[in-house]
């Protein structure tokens, strides 16, 4: 009797978190009533509005821009990611471990911070790179406020998504497949293009689809680099619609559905590719790691890796530090760069004089903790029910909790806006709406991470406890929780970090009392004060780095604690 009640409760909870906001989003897209003015009473469903939106030229332009930016970015990401996975897995390039680790750093950089840093570096007039070029007497100027700037930043920062897939495919590939080609008389070049790349084609495709989907849902980079040049992509266009006076919530909902539709198709295609037969793995003996001796060329590949790190990590950091600490971002000559009198804490003082800054940091922490606790508990309940029990209805739970995979953060934001803005006295305006939106958005990742750690715990460990006379809850408490603790801590940590850096869904859900760091940073940027923006970017980066370090230490501690106990 307890089982149906439990399943029912989970289903209702998921429906509340996922289905209800989505339904409201659909409703918004096909009606012309304004939820703020008209409340919930007035339904005017008709498809004309939705069709009109799809026919709108601005929508077409935003859609086209998004495809070009993400498409170009994906191509660049594939080139970089593929090159890196080959360098790390298949060559004797020095310090490979360092390269492999460092090349994942871009994943932790919040998109808006990357965008801000590159606007400081590459803005056509005052960009630091252009200032440097002027000193050197070179006529060339960078312009990152452009489609190509967008593509470059996308490609460089989302290459790790491609890398993750291709590196593991290369690692799992039987090296004799390549050796056979060499012995057959083919050159190294021929081997790479006729054997290696075709064999890992599924991984390349899966990685590029994923990076495309991620780019498609990113708000921070196009907001920082596209907006100054009037280049709208779907995400920035949707936000622009809600910032209109009066806000065009219905149009935003319709465009959000378009974005979600494209994302869903790509995610579906990616899952299809991943579940297809993988060429690369072959059963049999463990492979000897095969690494190509590059001779002196290994310093060239090492140099490439350094250049990449310089571009994605070092340069942006330098830019943020200079802009954050200098009173003015004007240099009369090269020497001025080292004029210590020009540096001060003035921007930091000014952002901390603003009471919103501390509020946003405090709110971010609260939202992060609530998201981690609620999301972690929910993911545990879902993961356990789906993976460890035979109760009826667990398939539906699985399905419902997977749906958000195909919903970009920004669309979650719009959906939650529609779901709650018209309800007086509801969640809108509290930090709970942010936390719940994050829980809904990240539930698939959390459940997946937890399920992996469940799978490592043998079913018989639980059965042994049942046989000893423990009930289901007692068994979960005394066996599952302690054994899965590292996995639980890791997933909650992940949730916390994701929530802290999330921007897309916060955009539509904050009020001045519930603003969070990412939103406030956007405010500073759009306010036009580069010094304050850079200073707050640094504050946010340092907080993120400290949190990451702390949580890594926490989950490592949890893992060791279990190892000792076991």
């Amino acid at each position: 009797m307890a089982a149906p009640l439990w399943v029912g409760a989970l289903l209702i909870l998921l429906a509340f978190l996922v289905i209800y906001p989505l339904l409201m989003l659909f409703f918004g897209a096909i009606s012309d009533s304004n939820p703020v003015i008209d409340g919930f009473g007035k339904f005017n469903p008709s498809l004309t509005h939705f069709i009109a939106v799809l026919g709108n030229e601005n929508v077409h332009l935003a859609f086209f821009n998004a495809l070009v930016a993400c498409g170009g970015g994906t191509i660049l990401a594939v080139v970089i990611g593929l090159a890196f996975s080959w360098i790390v897995v298949r060559t004797n390039t020095p310090f490979k471990g360092f390269i492999a680790g460092a090349s994942m750093i871009p994943l932790f950089v919040p998109p808006l911070v990357a965008g801000v840093a590159w606007s400081i570096l590459g803005s056509p007039k005052t960009g630091l790179l252009n200032t440097a070029l002027k000193w050197m007497g070179i006529d060339f100027r960078f312009d990152f406020y452009s489609m190509s700037g967008l593509i470059l930043v996308f490609g460089f920062y989302y290459a790790p998504y491609v890398y993750m897939f291709t590196a593991s495919a290369l690692r799992n590939m039987d090296p004799s497949l390549e050796e056979a080609s060499e012995v057959s008389g083919a050159s190294a070049f021929t081997t790479i293009f006729t054997i290696t790349f075709p064999l890992i084609a599924p991984a390349i495709l899966a990685g590029s689809l994923l990076s495309f989907v991620v780019m498609l849902g990113i708000y921070g980079v196009p907001a920082a680099l596209g907006a100054p040049a009037n280049i709208s992509v779907l995400t920035t266009y949707i936000f622009k619609l809600t910032a209109w006076a009066p806000p065009l919530y219905n149009t935003a909902a319709a465009v959000a559905i378009l974005l979600m539709f494209v994302t869903a198709i790509l995610v579906w295609a990616q899952q299809k590719v991943l579940s297809g037969k993988s060429f690369a793995t072959v059963a049999g003996k463990a492979f000897r790691p095969r690494s190509l001796n590059l001779g002196p060329w290994r310093w060239f590949t090492f140099g490439l890796a350094l250049i990449y790190l310089f571009i994605v990590v070092v340069l942006p950091t330098i830019a943020l530090v200079i802009a954050g600490f200098r009173r003015f971002l004007f240099f009369k000559d090269f020497g001025a760069l080292f004029d210590m009198k020009a540096y001060s804490w003035v921007h930091f003082n000014s952002i901390f004089d603003n009471p919103l800054t501390m509020t946003s940091i405090w709110n971010t922490m609260k939202v992060g903790v609530i998201t981690a606790l609620v999301g972690g508990a929910l993911a545990f309940a879902i993961g356990y029910t789906v993976n460890r029990t035979q109760v009826g209805g667990r398939r539906s739970i699985d399905l419902l909790s997977t749906i958000p995979v195909a919903i970009p953060g920004l669309v979650v934001g719009v959906a939650y806006l529609w779901a709650w803005i018209g309800l007086p006295g509801g969640l809108y305006g509290t930090i709970w709406i942010l936390a719940l939106a994050f829980v809904a958005r990240f539930i698939p990742d959390t459940v997946k991470a937890l399920s992996t750690s469940f799978m490592q715990i043998h079913k018989e460990l639980e059965e042994a406890a049942w046989v000893c006379g423990r009930g289901l809850l007692g068994t979960i408490w005394t066996v599952m929780l302690p054994l899965a603790r590292p996995g639980i801590v890791a997933s909650m940590t992940l949730l916390f970090v994701l929530a802290v850096r999330e921007l897309g869904s916060s955009l539509f859900l904050y009020t001045s009392d519930t603003t969070v760091m990412a939103v406030l940073l956007l405010d500073y940027y759009e306010g036009g004060n580069i010094g304050k923006t850079a200073a707050f970017s640094l504050v946010q980066t340092v907080i993120l780095a400290v949190l990451l370090g702390f949580t890594t230490w926490l989950s490592r501690g949890a893992a060791e604690g279990t190892a000792r106990a076991g």
Partner: protein
């Protein structure tokens, strides 16, 4: 006649541990198949991969068809693609994104010196040879293990390389198929007149396929000889043990005349044995015996003893007896569906030619 393959003092040292190959020398005349046999980790596969050029030797010389392809001292190192060799990998390494025909045609298309001629005809002929004529257009992912093995073989034969290297090509197949393909492999190799170097840990494969067998252990080549000699005249106690002479009698050398030695087994008496090693009187010796070479219920001119059957294990086509003999234990195998001896005393003949005496260097030298 020049050797198709000549290896001199080959050494391969990885960054850690003992050298994987430690001073191996042998040659393979054209048209002959040499099998390297040994337990895993003995250096046989590393030797093969050095010949292929997939590993780079740290010492010694390798020449293929009279051309030096690897000699560190002179700075010679020819890449695998320039060595004119074919190789069948343990995992077959059949490319799953191609059809059977594309796999086999690949070397012809990408070799610098494709050898001319019509690719289609060559591929067709080779597929016929390995019995896959009808599978040419099948995707490689739809093949069984045995078929993949044949595709790999066809792919390495199609361009008629000077030397064919085979790295445990049958070890991923089930037992029945392995035996069938083993016999067929020898037929195909002999039909093409191919020179081959074949690596395996399976004695039965080595005996059927090899014109000569080289037994390796810990990076050293212990003995290189035709199969009959490996089985009847093992050069040392490891070769004897590895090829199945699992009975050991411990004793002391009394005297030695030529290759004959007389050994004192203590309680059990004296035994005449063949020995390849220069043993002298007083040396501790190990006498190795194959279970199937011991004759129960028979007497001969020399080495006739009385033992006691303590256990009998009937196995249908053969019977295995545990025989106690002067405080030592022997395992005896008799073919036939009848178990002829029962527990108790039994006459026993150990033909001197089948008793092989080696210097006793402890059990560790055998394992």
């Amino acid at each position: 006649m020049t050797s198709a393959l000549l290896i001199q003092d080959l050494v391969k040292r990885f960054s850690t541990g003992k050298p994987a190959v430690d001073g191996v020398s042998f040659d393979v005349p054209a048209g002959e198949i040499v099998v390297l046999l040994g337990p895993s980790g003995c250096g046989k596969t590393t030797t093969l991969r050095c010949v292929a050029g997939l590993e780079h030797p740290t010492g010694g010389r390798i020449s293929i068809g009279g051309r030096t392809v690897s000699e560190l001292q002179r700075g010679v190192l020819v890449s695998p693609r320039e060595r004119d060799i074919g190789m069948v990998f343990q995992s077959y390494a059949v490319w799953p994104h191609m059809t059977v025909r594309q796999n086999v045609a690949y070397p012809l298309k990408h070799r610098r010196n494709g050898g001319g001629g019509d690719i289609d005809t060559k591929v067709k002929e080779t597929l016929e040879l390995v019995g896959l004529g009808e599978y040419a257009d099948r995707s490689a992912t739809l093949l069984s293990g045995g078929q993949m093995q044949r595709v790999a073989l066809a792919r390495s034969l199609v361009y008629r390389p000077q030397l064919l290297l085979l790295d445990e090509p049958l070890s991923n197949l089930d037992a029945k198929l392995r035996i069938r393909l083993r016999d067929e492999l020898r037929r195909i190799l002999k039909a093409t007149g191919m020179t081959g170097l074949y690596v395996t840990h399976d004695q039965a494969e080595a005996v059927v396929l090899g014109d000569r067998i080289g037994v390796m252990r810990e990076g050293k080549l212990l003995q290189m000889a035709p199969p009959g000699e490996i089985y009847n005249r093992p050069a040392d106690s490891f070769v004897a043990n590895f090829t199945g002479a699992s009975n050991v009698l411990l004793g002391k050398v009394l005297e030695r005349k030529g290759e004959r030695a007389t050994i004192d087994l203590g309680q059990a008496g004296r035994i005449e044995a063949w020995t390849p090693q220069p043993l002298s009187a007083g040396d501790r010796a190990r006498v190795a015996l194959r279970a199937e070479n011991i004759r129960l219920g028979e007497r001969g001119p020399a080495n006739s003893f009385t033992g006691r059957v303590v256990e009998r294990r009937y196995q249908g086509m053969q019977t295995v007896y545990d025989v106690e003999f002067g405080g030592q234990k022997l395992e005896v195998l008799e073919l036939g569906t009848a178990a002829r001896h029962s527990d108790g005393e039994v006459a026993m003949h150990l033909p001197p030619d089948t008793c092989w005496a080696y210097r006793d260097e402890g059990q560790a030298a055998v394992d």
